[in-house]
Amino acid sequence: MRNVIEANALKLAYPRHEPVIKSATFEVNTGEFVFITGASGSGKSTLLKSMYGSMPLFGGELHVGGMDMGSISGSKLYKLRRHIGIIFQDYKLIKEWSVEKNVMLPLIIAGFPKDVCRAQAQKLLTHVKLSHKSDKYPLELSGGEQQRVAMARALAHNPFLILADEPTGNLDDYSSQVVWDLMERANEELETTILVVTHHIPEMFSAQYRHLMIENGVIYEIH
């Protein structure tokens, strides 16, 4: 299999705005765990967007899971997304759905029977210490609880790639540790490739894993 992510002179820009990412060239191999940092507004979230096809390329090339994101068609994009787990910076939970159903979302889309979905959702909610909140609705949760639900949802369907945008920004140290452990486990046990945007690389990870940094629209490899 080719690299999970291959970016070549990638350029990203919002319509009628200066390019946010001016040039990004890097690749991420299967099973890697990569941290991305950068100042506020430097384009980290924008870079992730391009990886799940929510941002058209302004220039250069980007391949995700072997797909050319510059020319990917609608149905192929949906197929790709079904195998990616995303934690959005603003969580993006479905307000009208219970916590459990929110976690089930990727499994429902994959077409699993109800009880399989439910069992898997319960397992993940237990992992993020929220099984007692499974009947609640997102607006009845605290900020950090919502963030952990988003985490559980991203892991539910055993994706080959996890894109996490500031997944511990609203978490205390203990909850953060829970989240990092889960990611590490997925990375080690299932060879899931993981890209995390964060302002605080946990110390125990900082030497061990790769670290990319965005500055002035350019991506640098720190180590």
């Binding site: 929510s54 079904r82 993006k92 979302l105 990727p106 889309i109």
Partner: protein
Amino acid sequence: MRSIRHHLALILPLFAILFCIEYLLVFDRITESYENRLKENYSLILVADRSVKLSDISHCDTLIEKTEPIDAENVLRRIKAGLNHESVEKIRSIMPLFISIKLRRYAGIERIERLKSELMSIAGVRDVHIFEKVHDRLYAMLLFMKISFTVFSMLIGAISLLLLMKQMTIWQFEHKERMQIMSLFGAPVWLRSGVLFRLAIVDALLALIFVVSALLYLVNDSSVRELLSAIGIEPEIILRLDDAAVLAGVSFAIATFSATWVVLRFKEEQ
């Protein structure tokens, strides 16, 4: 409770649209049958010398369907009781010829006036009586009603369409975020918009059932039947089978169109 209101928002405008369509269909039929009836009832009586030939009159205008001399006996019978035979004979001989004229179709007052002056120009014709005032007024009333109903229907149609659009906007508000998020996780269109279509189809069916029930009720209600027969309309003119088919088509078309519109308007946010 909330969901009932939301169903209503689609059902009521659909109902109104279907009702108007049916009303206009029925009204076309009423007008048509009335025109036929007016033709039958419309009578011109022509008073002429006995020398006038019926064929002259028949060929005078294409509008004329039939001419018939009126039996003067009727006129005389009433008064002859107290008169001697001779007097009656005398009256009969000098009495003018009465001719009844039947028209092919009802043609409005101006056309009739023209016909009248044409008839008058025939030598020997003394007078033409038109018994149409009230009939004409009835017809004018019918026309007025038809125009009024059309205005009302257009108004209802317009508000209903707007109501549908509003409902769609609300659907968008309500479903946009969910569809957005589902789409980010790769849900195909049918999965994320299935709810909408199910809703639309159910509502279309309900609206159809309500309209047909309402019309059936109207057809069978005795006071409605009385009223209709008073103005000379058979209640069976309301709701024919092919009407129901038209209504069903319109209902489902509008409902699925609405849902499709919402789905197509959906765009992923950046």
